[in-house]
Symmetry: C2
Subunit: 162 residues, 2 copies
């Protein structure tokens, strides 16, 4: 009986070693490397919480646009603001919120595309339980950059998640 | 000895069943669900090989841009062409090529950002061994849409991979 257990244990160890070797990259390992660089933390009063920015195209006269990768930690968000030329958000990771003034906040998540009309007052950011990463494409920047307004208060933010 | 083998085999099967259950989503399973919709196959002489397109923003006066998700099967590519307002490519999957007229072709891959100046004659597409997916952002489309030129011949394409 001892020999049976000894051999069985040997097979068990070999089998587990074998299947460990075959394991594909875990979800955690893949999350560790974002699709586009996270960039650096934004130090600005136009945001609440920790937000990272990696610019791809800085506002210039060649492309007449501003394109960057924005990453919000859970609960982090923009102030209310508007874009004279409008903006498109392409959500590449996580979950969050988009709200236009006077409208109900919309849940947004990986794979969503948000079209923000020119001069529409709005905010966007992460949900309380998940971070959010989106590419932000600001268009016709010759009409002007973002016009920043008041912060989204904790009361406003907490109410949408009720 | 027979009993030893019987028990060992039993342990082996149990161990393999156990580790199968623990396996995270495989690379193949994840590839099956792209970040953004693949859209539909383009039927146009401006492309070689099979190319899929999902538009996010069709050229309109509101955003003055055209934004879409483009997926190339291996070896598939655009014709030579140019954009009066310029274009930005954000590579989200796979490997491929970008070449401007008179310059050496550049390898591009997941995570790369390509800035195509206004009126620069160029082409982009997949490598021979991998597909390519990129978001294409055409800017200042009020200056006009893409101007399509001659195909990238097999001779041109095969030469860059030498």
């Amino acid at each position: 009986m001892k020999r049976i257990l000894k051999y069985s244990l040997l097979f068990l160890i070999l089998a587990l070693m074998a299947c460990n070797g075959k394991q594909p990259q875990s979800a955690e390992e893949q999350k560790a490397k974002p699709l586009f660089p996270k960039g650096t933390v934004i130090t600005s009063n136009n945001f609440s919480g920790t937000v990272w920015l990696q610019m791809f195209v800085s506002n210039d006269t060649t492309y007449n646009a501003s394109i960057g990768n924005v990453t919000f930690e859970p609960k982090a968000r923009t102030n209310w603001h508007k874009h004279p030329g409008g903006q498109i958000l392409l959500v590449t990771e996580g979950k969050g919120w988009y709200q236009e003034k006077g409208k109900t906040a919309q849940r947004i998540q990986k794979g969503d595309v948000v079209k923000i009309p020119p001069d529409a007052e709005h905010w966007h950011g992460a949900s309380s339980e998940s971070g959010l990463t989106h590419i932000a494409i600001s268009l016709s920047t010759d009409k002007g950059g973002a016009i920043w307004l008041q912060p989204v208060t904790n009361e406003e933010y907490n109410n949408i998640e009720k």
